[in-house]
């Protein structure tokens, strides 16, 4: 009995010492930031960031090969925490917002054909330049919505992307993914925009869209500094955005909109009380 206890105890001691030495000698140095990042990440291992699970993403973050805004489930909160851990500027500083320069949804703009394929704007654009007659309008298949890490893009029931100004962090992912370049960056303090992206002549635009810019120059007459008209399309000169609001009532097709007063028709979003810059 005693012999058994002693011999097993000795074996245990020897093994413990060996393991202790091995643990010290072969210890893998883990960057404490990586562990901290792991704590912050949601831990769902969903792979939406493009890395094998949260651990892979944390590793890439520390190695500097990934951006902090690649975790869609985590949203703005995780971005802010990661920014603190990694000591980088949160890209959610929101000096700029993305704006969809179109409000011609399927009820207002004409379609060329009934699209049945893949729910993706780039794929649809490859078929006869997209299902919309308008060459620049929003296709409404939601590629930007899926690209947005912050759930800041709403697709209306009638097929129009609307960007929530309270959630947008200005990361530009939607801008990169849009095949029609209808999403543009604009200074966050500018709330008035011309929501049209068609460079066709007025008479042509009128045929396919009820709310397109027809380049009638009335906005420019009302506020000469705040608007410029190039290639049959009016745009707000953002340096003078304060003066732009006076032209809203002048626009015959109602394609100038002040986001502080409301989002395009069909959107469920409510205007922010004071259109405050995003607090990241």
């Amino acid at each position: 009995m005693l012999a058994a206890i002693l011999s097993l105890g000795c074996i245990g001691m020897v093994a413990a010492v060996a393991l202790g030495i091995a643990a010290k000698k072969f210890a893998v140095e883990v960057d404490p930031r990586e562990l901290a990042a792991m704590e912050v990440l949601p831990g769902a291992n969903c792979g939406a960031c493009g890395f094998p699970g949260c651990a892979g993403y944390a590793k890439a973050l520390v190695a500097g090969t990934a951006d902090i805004n690649q975790c869609p489930p985590g949203g703005a909160e995780v971005v802010a925490k990661l920014a603190r851990i990694l000591g980088v500027e949160a890209s959610a500083s929101a000096s700029e917002f993305a704006v969809v320069l179109c409000q011609g949804d399927n009820s207002k703009a004409q379609l060329k054909y009934h699209y049945l394929g893949l729910e993706d704007c780039t794929a649809a654009q490859r078929i006869a330049d997209g299902p919309k007659v308008c060459p620049g309008g929003c296709l409404g298949l939601g590629s930007c919505q899926r690209a947005c890490p912050f759930d800041a893009i709403e697709m209306t029931a009638t097929g129009l992307a609307v960007i929530n100004r309270e959630k947008c962090t200005g990361c530009r992912k939607c801008v990169a993914v849009c095949p029609r370049q209808v999403i543009r960056m604009a200074p966050s303090e500018a709330t008035v925009h011309v929501l049209c992206n068609s460079h066709d002549k007025g008479a042509v635009v009128r045929k396919y869209c009820q709310v397109g810019c027809i380049a009638c120059h009335l906005c420019q007459k009302a506020a000469p500094d705040a608007y410029k008209i190039e290639n049959f399309l009016a745009t707000v000169v953002y340096e003078h955005h304060n003066e732009a609001a006076v032209a809203i009532t002048k626009c015959p097709t109602k394609c100038i909109r002040d986001f502080s007063e409301g989002y395009p028709d069909g959107s469920a979003l409510l205007p922010a009380v004071a259109d405050k810059p995003h607090a990241a």
């Binding site: 054909y113 049945l116 394929g117 893949l118 780039t122 794929a123 490859r126 078929i127 006869a128 330049d129």
Partner: protein
């Protein structure tokens, strides 16, 4: 006898009964032709005529730009009334030359017939290039490029494609029955250009009359007539090679890498016209068919004839079509309307009714692997499509997305109606764009 074929593939109803018994008719000339400058794979040609200029039938009106490009020619004599953007079968509006016919239909005097015995291989290739001949099976790849393989890649086997595996289409079938001499002459010319040792013509077994006719014509010659199993896509280049020779074109390679060249039977006929008669490619056979057209026909049409004219010639519509397709139902281009002109690659105009199309909503993949079984190049459509949709391009490329021939067999068999071939196409385009960006 066991018929030759390839692994995979599908058996869609062939629906050729609408037009397979109808002899080729000459389509009456319309008053106006719209000849697009881009009708082929490669650089579009450049207009070399001016508005107001009078052109003769067969006169060059657009010059080739670069090696992989072909000229376009006036389909009839008349006046150039516009050079502008017009509807194009590919979807967007593209530059086209509009010609108002003068009714004379007078040939240009510059076209010179020649005796093939006096021509070297290079002369023949040059004549084919000048005549603007492209592959007539549908893809419209310039024929002279295919005829000029690099010297280290010797073509030993020349295969002629009389398969016409697309459902509904009967243009090649009728041509083989009615104009076998034109095809056989072209086959002989192409054989002399390539110096090929073995010449084969592959015909699907549902065209037994064409097989019998060619067997009779080829008796005592070196040309083998091979009957092939009725299966889609039997007429795809690589599948035809696999069926006839048993060899596989390597991934990313061309048929010339294994010493094979494939040409359509209609291309052979166009080569005859170009080399012997000096006539450019300004007409082709086109099947106008489908349940929504009053009188399906096989028509000899001039390039640049508007689709609306073809519908008129065929007795008009039975009802408003649910889908207008240029080419066959599997690989054709859906059209927005009848404003586009027929081009060199227009093998058919298919008009389907609303009840003939099946717009099922997409469901989840149930991992049944029917697409994998159907795939004639033996890749995994469901996996590649899933990668492509998530923009995981490197993974899609690793699973051989670039080898996809876009035949649509996977989408056809998918019980969940997943747009597989569209996703893979999208992935292929994205991979190519990425490659261009990085180089």
């Amino acid at each position: 006898m066991k018929l030759k074929t390839f692994a995979g593939g599908i058996h869609p109803p062939d629906n050729k009964q609408w037009s397979s018994h109808k002899a080729i008719e000459d389509c009456p000339l319309p008053a106006e032709f719209v000849v697009p400058l881009a009708q082929h794979i490669g650089a579009p040609s450049v207009a070399c005529v001016e508005i107001g200029q009078h052109v003769a039938k067969g006169q060059e009106i657009g010059t080739a730009k670069g090696f992989v490009s072909v000229p376009v020619h006036a389909p009839t004599s008349g006046e150039v009334i516009a050079i502008e953007y017009r509807s194009h079968p590919w979807g967007p509006s593209l530059p086209a030359i509009v010609i108002k016919s003068d009714g004379d239909d007078r040939w240009s005097t510059e076209l010179q017939p020649a005796d093939p015995a006096d021509l070297s291989a290079n002369d023949m290739i040059e004549r084919v290039r000048q005549a603007g001949v492209v592959g007539m099976g549908g893809a419209a790849f310039p024929a002279h490029v295919k005829m000029s393989p690099p010297p280290e890649k010797k073509v030993r086997t020349l295969i002629f494609n009389g398969v016409e595996c697309e459902p509904y289409l009967t243009a090649d079938h009728r041509m083989m029955l009615e104009e076998p001499e034109r095809i056989l002459q072209g086959m002989a010319l192409l054989q002399s250009v390539f110096g090929a040792e073995r010449v084969v013509i592959g015909i699907e077994a549902n065209k037994s009359d064409a097989i019998a006719l060619f067997e009779k014509h080829c008796l005592g010659t070196a040309v083998e007539v091979v009957a092939l199993k009725v299966k889609y896509p039997q007429g795809a280049e690589k599948q035809l090679i696999a069926a006839v020779t048993g060899k596989e074109v390597p991934s990313g390679g061309l048929p010339m890498d294994i010493g094979v060249a494939v040409h359509n039977v209609s291309t052979a006929a166009a080569v005859t016209d170009a080399v012997i008669h000096g006539r450019p490619l300004i007409e082709r056979i086109c099947t106008v068919t489908g349940p929504a057209i009053r009188e399906p026909k096989n028509l000899r049409i001039r390039i640049g004839t508007l689709l609306s004219h073809l519908v008129e010639v065929c007795g008009g519509l039975v009802e408003q079509p649910g889908k207008i397709v240029l080419g066959g139902p599997m690989m054709g281009f859906t059209q927005l309307g009848f404003n586009a002109p027929a081009t060199k690659g227009t093998s058919g105009l298919l008009l389907l009714r609303t009840q003939d199309i099946d717009p099922r909503p997409e469901g989840p993949c149930i991992r049944c692997a029917r697409c994998v079984q159907a795939c004639p190049i033996r890749i995994m459509p469901t996996t590649i499509a899933a990668y492509a949709r998530r923009n995981l391009l490197a993974e899609a490329a690793e699973y051989c997305a670039m080898d996809c021939i876009e035949c649509g067999s996977c989408s056809y068999v998918c019980p969940a109606a997943i747009p597989l071939v569209q996703s893979i196409r999208y992935g292929k385009a994205a991979i190519l764009a990425e490659k261009r960006k990085s180089s």
